[in-house]
């Protein structure tokens, strides 16, 4: 791997981080804005990790939020029920450990779900991943220790802009380095033609299970971050519609483009809030109930994006700073 090129992305990220932080501290961006950025960053982590499974390896997964649920509940159980810690600086190691364990638990589930992918393809696999997600939700509804349908409550608020930013960045770098290495070409080969990949001697089993494990790990970490941001986790948050939202972000950004995943995660999260703002202002001015039409416009814009950018915002292209070795693409 060419480590010489890595710092460019690091510098860009550091720059963005500092700009947002300074704008927040000087009051240019209020906490509401920062909250939306936090949410966008969690969606970046989810979308980029789904990109590894779905975009790069071509394994159609409809249960990505199921992994996030495992991460949220496992890490939340550790910080809330096991240690019952306050979100102070000295306790951050416990939080980080909890996030990692949550991620590993999700990865384990990912491996479990990866195995059916050895036998099943396309929409058949989609049903199985969807079913797994729903099974996880059913189980969570029935474990009273973690609250059942009341949800896991009182999770300490460890997540903040700093943590969420770092995790999104690390996810992006790890998936990028995987994608743009020889492993990455193996993933792509499976996506393009699995039989051919096998015939040229690729261990497709290993790569598919690997994609599911790594993708699920980061989804689990993202789930943990979400739980520690909202201070709660609830089974319904991680259902089918949640997984579909991540899928929308993936395709709206462009399958296989990590840049696209990042842009779409931000764009779609901000779109809902911007529409809220604009329509509220307009209905104040006109005295019409325009706010009711927010989600109608959202859906319409989504369709238009796909009609005019049929391969998503970025297609399969990457921004230069995300490319590890420019000469090879």
């Amino acid at each position: 791997m060419n480590s010489l090129k890595t710092p460019r992305l690091l510098f860009a990220a550091a720059g963005l981080y500092v700009v947002i932080l300074v704008m927040n501290l000087t009051g240019l961006l209020n906490d509401y804005f920062l909250h939306i950025i936090n949410q966008s960053l969690i969606y970046v982590t989810l979308t980029v990790s789904l990109n590894l499974i779905n975009g790069l390896t071509g394994q159609f997964s409809l249960g990505h939020m199921g992994f996030a649920a495992v991460g949220a509940y496992v890490s939340g159980t550790i910080t809330t029920l096991l240690f019952n810690v306050k979100p102070t600086l000295v306790n951050y190691p416990i939080f980080v450990l909890a996030l990692v364990i949550g991620g590993l638990a999700a990865a384990l589930v990912g491996v479990l779900i990866g195995f059916p992918s050895l036998r099943l393809k396309g929409d058949y696999l989609a049903i199985v991943t969807l079913g797994f997600g729903e099974i996880i939700r059913t189980i969570l509804n029935n474990i009273s220790v973690v609250g059942g349908p009341r949800g896991l409550l009182g999770i300490p608020k460890f997540s903040n802009f700093h943590v969420v930013f770092v995790v999104a960045f690390v996810t992006l770098v790890v998936v990028r380095n995987l994608a743009q290495s020889s492993h990455g070409r193996a993933f792509l080969a499976i996506r393009e033609n699995e039989l051919a990949a096998e015939l040229v001697g690729l261990n497709t089993t290993r790569y598919k299970v690997m994609a599911f494990a790594i993708g699920a790990f980061f989804a689990g970490v993202a789930g943990g971050l979400l739980g520690h941001l909202l201070q709660m986790a609830h089974p319904t948050q991680f259902g089918f519609l949640g997984s579909v939202l991540v899928l929308i972000m993936l395709y709206a950004g462009g399958v296989g483009s990590l840049t696209g995943s990042v842009i779409a995660a931000f764009a779609l999260t901000f779109l809902t809030e911007t529409l809220r703002m604009v329509l509220d202002s307009l209905s104040d001015m006109t005295n019409l109930p325009l706010g009711d039409w927010r989600m109608v416009l959202y859906a319409l814009l989504l369709i238009l994006i796909m009609l005019f950018r049929t391969e998503g915002l970025m297609g399969t292209r990457e921004a230069k700073i995300v490319v590890l070795k420019e000469d090879q693409l």
């Binding site: 099943l120 393809k121 049903i127 099974i135 033609n193 899928l247 989600m295 859906a299 369709i303 049929t310």
Partner: protein, 303 residues
């Protein structure tokens, strides 16, 4: 444990399966030809239910009366509404993406689904609230041994069976059916053979939408409560039934739907807390044993 497999539960499972089958049949037809997970199919179903609801009140206001003519008119309106929405969706959201990556249309499908739901929810004269679906046909209950069965269940079952037979006939015996099969097997080859692929797809959406509309009416009659988001879950179940039966296989969709109905019923009777999860576990097991669905054909991978 033995007590969960009694006559009444079998009737319950068949009723649930019939509703799933009604939606899954239209679904699998479209699915077999354009190979697109049509997320909006559940919403065509919802539109059908609302159209029937509206037709009922208009019919009542202008002509009055009820009984068979009323039921026939509402059925026609529901089917027409389903067709129109399906055709519009195909024309404006799917057709422009026909030769693009399949997954782009998947996102527009989700977008269309959201658009229809939120639009119905936002329109002042429809709104998000639940509405009581009118009684089109008086309900009658029959006792067969220890089980009670309603005439609605019989109607649902008969309609689902008729539609399946009709569809199978259409696909196997008519010129349009032959063209459909050709398009589903190889679009490009079909085009070379002089088949107007877009016309065939257009017809498929019209018929599939009509089926969804009819299903909306029957579901509204059987479970008399309609609201703009009523199509999400049935749409998902239809998708699962279609995949379970084998993509694009019409008897397969029907079989898949009944298996799901029975699996859900028995799983809930066995343990209602875990019922949903058990039903999904059964589906996963079935797919692991039959990776191409129950009646799906084995096709060789192309390199």
């Amino acid at each position: 444990m033995g007590s969960i497999f009694n006559a009444q539960q079998i009737v319950n499972g068949l009723q649930l399966g019939s509703i799933y089958a009604l939606i899954a049949l239209g679904y699998t037809m479209v699915y077999g030809i354009v190979r697109l997970i049509n997320f909006a199919h559940g919403d065509f179903f919802m539109v059908g239910a609302y159209a029937a609801y509206g037709a009922f009140f208009l019919f009542n206001a202008f002509l009055g009366g009820s009984g068979l003519p009323m039921a026939a008119v509402t059925l026609i309106v529901a089917m027409a509404a389903g067709s129109v929405v399906a055709a519009l969706t195909n024309r404006f959201a799917y057709k422009p993406l026909r030769n693009k990556p399949k997954l782009s249309s998947l996102i527009t499908a989700i977008g269309v689904s959201m658009l229809i739901e939120y639009l119905f929810s936002a329109l002042p004269f429809i709104g998000a609230s639940f509405r009581a679906f009118p009684v089109l046909i008086e309900q009658k209950l029959y006792k067969i041994g220890t089980a009670t069965i309603s005439n609605y269940v019989v109607i649902d079952l008969l309609v689902a069976a008729t539609l399946m037979i009709g569809l199978t006939f259409l696909v196997r015996k008519t010129a349009l059916g032959r063209a459909m099969r050709a398009v589903s097997q190889d679009k490009d080859a079909a085009k070379l053979m002089g088949i107007d692929v877009e016309r065939v797809i257009g017809w498929t959406f019209l018929i599939g939408g009509a089926f969804a509309g009819a299903a909306g009416l029957l579901a509204g009659m059987t479970y008399p409560r309609i609201f703009p988001y009523m199509g999400i879950l049935p749409g998902l179940k239809a998708f699962i039934a279609a995949v379970l039966g084998g993509i694009g296989n019409i008897p397969g969709a029907m079989l898949g739907a009944y298996i799901m109905g029975l699996a859900e019923t028995f799983a809930s009777a066995f343990n209602s807390l875990l019922g949903e999860g058990i039903a999904f576990a059964i589906l996963i097991l079935v797919l692991l044993v039959r990776p191409r669905g129950l009646l799906g054909e084995k096709s060789a991978d192309k390199i």
